[in-house]
Amino acid sequence: MAEDKRLMKGNEAIGEAAVRAGCRAYFGYPITPQNELTAYMAKNMLDKKRTFIQAESEVSAINMVYGAAATGARTMTSSSSPGLSLKQEGISYACGADLPLVIVNVQRSGPGLGGISPGQSDYFQSTRGGGHGDYYHLVLAPKSVQEAADLTYEAFDLADRWRMPVMILADGLIGQMMEGVVLPPARDLAALPRKPWAVGRQADSHRPINHVTSINLVPDELEAANRKRFARYDEIKQAEVRFEEVNTEKAELVFVAYGTSSRVCLGALEMAKKAGVELGLFRPISLWPFPEKRVAELAAKGKKFLAVEMSMGQMVEDVRLAANGKTEVGFYGRCGGNIPSEEEVFAEAMRLVGTKSGK
C-alpha cells in the first residue's frame, strides 16, 4: 500500500491519528491553540457515526470521557492549559478507577488565563499527578507533527495496556504548525482489545457484575489498591521510557529539552558545530516516566547539562534529581509565550562550557 502522506497542522494530525487508532468518542470544549483539533474531530467523527460532543466545559468533557472509557470504548479529550486545570479532578478519578483514556494538552502560557502563545509550563501539573491523591499517568511529548500523530496513535494502545490515562503533552507551536506527516493505518474497531472489567453487554456472557469506581473506605484495602497501582508504575518505568539522543557521546555539554524547545536546541547544535564545539541533545519523549537512568548515566560520565524549557524551570527539577549532584545542571527558559532562540540557547551553552565543571 502506498504511504498515506499529507501536509497537516499538528492539531489535525493528532485528530486523524486518534480516529485511525479507533477512538469511538471524543469530547471537547473550545480553547486556543487547540481549536482545530476539536473541529477536526467534529467533522471526522460525526461522518463515521462515532460520538462527538462539544461539552459545556472541560470538567464535563473529561467526565464524559470517564463514562465512555468505563464501557471499554477508546475515547479522547483535548484542551489547552487552563482547560487541563479543570480536567484534573476527572483525571484523578480515572486514575483511581484505572480507566484507559487519552488526553491531549496543547500547552499555552500561564499562569491564569496567561496567553495563547506556546508554553511548556504544565510540566509539573502533567507529570506529578495534577489532581488529588497518589497517582501518575503516562505523559508523552512530541517534537513534530509526525511524532504528534505517532504518539497519539500509540497512546490508545498504551492506555489499554496499562489501564491508565495517557497524556500527549504538546504545545501551541506543535499544534499550529504544518508539516508533512505519514499517517498510520486505520484500526479495525472489531479487533481492538477486549476489556472484561468494563460495564455493559453483560447479557452477552452472563459474567458477574462490574463496578467502575475509585471509592474504598477501608484503609487497608485502599492502601493495597494504591500499592498495586504503584507496582504497575514500576513496570511502566521499566517498559515505557522513551528518549532521543543527538551527539551526546562527543558532547561536553548536553541540552535537555522536549517538544518545541528541543528543536531550538538542535539549531544550537548546528551553530556549535560551525564554531568547532561539540554540544549534544538529550530529548525526553516520555516525561512520565522520566528517563532518569539515562540522565544519571550521562551525569556519571561528567557531561554538563543545560535544561531548556518554555517555562521558568520545571523539567529541570527532574534533570537535577536524576543527576543527583554528579554534574552541573544549568537552566535556560523563556516564558509568557516566548520561544527561546537558537542564538540565546547557544550563547548560554557557551557560557556554561567556559565555566569550571561543578563536580
Partner: protein, 252 residues
Amino acid sequence: MELAYGHPKSLKPIQTKYCPGCGHGVIHRLVAEVVDEMGLQERSIILNPVGCAIWADLYFDFDSVQPAHGRTPAAATGIKRMLPDHLVICYQGDGDLAAIGTAEAVHAANRGEKFTTIFVNNAIYGMTGGQMAPTTLVGQKATTAPYGRDPIEAGMGYPIRVCELLATLGGTKYLARGSVDTAVNVRKTKQYIKKAFEAQMRGEGFSMVEVLSPCPTNWQMSPPEAAEWVGQSMAAFYPLGEIKNTLEEAKR
C-alpha cells in the same frame, strides 16, 4: 401458584446501610422492580453518585459506574452514547444535581441525552451531615443554615424547583415528581419511573423522575414525622405529578 410479591432480582437480598426512614432504600427498590419488569437486569447500568446513594453499587445487582460529585450526568452521557441499547440510570441527590453539578444536569437534559435521571430530593446534604441543599425549604434548619434558610437577609437564595427549571429545555421529554411518603405516592412514583425507563428505551430524549424523599436523621425527626413533613411541607412547595410529558404516547 404465581408469586404475587417477592424481592426484586435486580436488588441484592442484603440489608442497606441507609438510616431508618431514609427514602433511598424504597427508591432503590422501585428502580429494581421496574428493571425486572422490563427484563433489563443484564442491560442496566447505574451511576452511583457522591452522596448517600454512593452505596447503590452495593445493592443493585447490575453494573455500576461511580463518577465525581455532580459529574454524574456527564459520565452518564459517555456511557449511554457508547451503549445506546442499555438502560442508563443517572441516580443523583439534590446537592449532586442542583448545586455542584447544575451545569452537567442542565446541559445533558438540553442535549436530550437518552438516559433517565432519578433525582432524590431530600432537601438536605445527607452524606456530609445535614448541610443546606439547593432544595432546602425557606426557614428549614441545616447545620449551615442554623437559623433556618433565609433567602434575603443571609442571602441563602431560594429552593430550586428542578423539574420546572428543566421543563423549558427542548431536550427534556418527561419530567415527573413523585414522593415516597405514602403507599399511594410510592405506587405513583413507580409508574413515573416505568414511563421514564420505557421512554429511554424507545430513545425519546431526556427523562427524569424527581422523588421527594425523607431524611429523618438530618432533619432530626422520627421516621413518621419525616414522612409527614414530606407530604405537608415539601409537597406544598414541590408539586407532585407529571411536570412535563411530551412523549410520543402522550401526544396520541
